[in-house]
Symmetry: C2
Subunit: 337 residues, 2 copies
């Protein structure tokens, strides 16, 4: 490491002169699929190493209209499961040489602006793992140029210009419903998330329909304003307060684990009920802590790694080998139901 390498950026030209080749050959050496002889490649790489050169991806994306950059829009930082998703996404994307721009979308109004931010960085795709995106946002997002692909991850939309990657919510929730029914529960209550979003899950509809079909009476639903354990806690505490044993639900089917955890805490600490003896609870996601002895949550785990692989295929423009909205997860049976 000589003294001349402060922060002067070293370009492909520098490497080229050192290696005695042209600038283009240098850059070719860094592309796995380029046509270049092994001999010159090693020669170039040695020179690059010596100078500490790495190709400038900004410049590359300017010149080529591919950036290998993906924007990840998140608006739901209250849900610890998002951490798991982010980890898987960033890791697997990086393995495939994509970088991730993390954009914090404050709310639905902000989503458009967030998408704009992404487009200013020439991202190859925007991946939405939040919850508050409505069709209006999706539409204007696609009107805006430069976001070539709009991908809903673990969410779904009918919008023909978006790509949804998610597990088969219907199959998944049917599995849960059948399990709940098989366990002999009689008075379910469905704890749903915000009812305003249209890029959504089919969990509520599926469960309600399935229950109706099997038992011939409806399943009540209460919505929580956000997928937030604290809000779920409050909502459950209020809504179940003062009910007698016989008109209280005997199972709480929750749209995801964040709601389920808040619900369990409310049941225990506000209503003094035992889970699952007095009331059972199911979740969805298998979030961190779902397995902890405190919750022992019966839940459903999505095949996140496979779904991210699907995403990679979409980004590469390959035709995915699994239907993108039909991933299959598994029911994780623990003690809560």
């Amino acid at each position: 490491m000589t003294q001349d390498d402060f922060t002067e950026t070293v370009t492909a030209d520098d490497v080229a002169t050192l290696a005695g080749v042209s600038r283009w050959t240098v850059n070719r050496a860094f592309k796995p699929e380029a046509s270049i002889s092994e001999k010159t490649r090693t020669k170039v790489m040695a020179a690059a190493q010596q100078l500490g050169y790495v190709p400038d991806l900004q410049a590359a994306s300017l010149a080529s209209d591919r950036s290998n950059l993906v924007a990840l829009l998140v608006d739901d930082f209250a849900n610890p499961h998002k951490l798991v998703m982010m980890e898987k996404l960033t890791r697997i994307l990086r393995q495939n040489r994509w970088d991730t721009l993390l954009v914090n979308t404050l709310d639905a109004e902000d989503a458009t602006s967030a998408l704009l931010t992404a487009s200013q960085r020439r991202v190859d795709a925007a991946v939405l793992i939040g919850v508050q995106f409505d069709d209006q946002v999706l539409k204007t997002a696609l009107g805006a140029r430069r976001v070539r692909k709009l991908i809903l991850f673990a969410r779904q939309s009918e919008n023909p210009n978006t790509i949804s990657i998610c597990c088969d919510d219907q199959a998944a929730m049917t599995t849960i419903a059948d399990y709940v029914i098989a366990q002999g529960y009689q008075r379910p209550l469905f704890l749903a998330g915000p009812q305003t979003v249209s890029a959504h899950l089919h969990r509520k509809e599926t469960f309600v329909a399935r229950w109706q079909a099997a038992k011939d009476h409806p399943c009540p639903v209460i919505p929580v304003g956000a997928y937030d354990p604290d809000l779920a806690y409050q909502t459950v505490a209020e809504r179940l307060q003062g009910l007698t044993d016989s008109n209280r639900p005997d199972v709480l089917v929750c749209e995801n684990d964040a709601l389920a955890m808040g619900a369990i805490d409310a049941l225990r600490y506000e209503l003094g009920l035992q889970v699952p003896q007095d009331i059972a609870v199911t979740g969805f996601d298998d979030a961190p802590l779902a397995a902890s002895p405190h919750y022992r949550l019966t839940t459903y785990r999505q095949p996140l790694a496979d779904m991210v692989q699907g995403l990679v295929q979409v980004l590469k423009g390959e035709t995915p080998d699994t239907p993108l909205t039909g991933f299959e997860g598994e029911l994780i049976i623990r003690a809560s139901a």
Copy 2:
């Protein structure tokens, strides 16, 4: 929305012709501090709006050597508190017109490569909020060009070329120690994180020293291999198994909430102990769920928002109005100790 706006990128030139000005005037209109008359700015903005134009930040950063991009390196996705940090960082950075590149750093070996990735995107700074960065990594990172600023967020290093932004861990842990002592606990056990990192916290040293000074006998320490609740659970279960009431610690001082939560679960569900009656627990961070009725964790909350503001000042090159390693948080007293 006319039909011609598919995905053809609209550049400043297009807006310029429509507005009847030069390309440079168009770009000036988008910089708040530029010298431009209000009249032409509104004219330009109208034209831009009509065409759906936004400046291309990639091109801008190529031309200007400032990218308004910050890399956020994270290696600790098991800790839910990271979600809070990410939310604050991305939100406040975006408010100040910085975008965030999220880089998942698998382990210490990978850190160098992660830094390289960041440098390839011409980031203005790399912000480390992970735990596994050792001095070797920091050194090579600074050897690599193009990462102009290396910032440790909520961590500290003696390396003179890095910038640490953190609260005064010594003051913070002293506060906790004094509280623990004032509560009359006699047999503390310090639950520490991995002992190998050198970009670190001073919590353990501070507590141990403080205890020694006050009580004149040492405080034992057990390390956990990672800041992971599950690992903490196992470690605590193993290490406290079979101890009698009198030789068991009466307070577990944990380096952060992730450890504390795992510890609490282990105490309750493996050892059948009551918190805080049989053994008290303190944490650090005030992570999500720390306030939940299940944990009611006595912990210490860092002034994250202020710290991010400090980061923004560093990025802007301003001299911060608070010493960057001296932020003051507050002790949150709940039921666990």
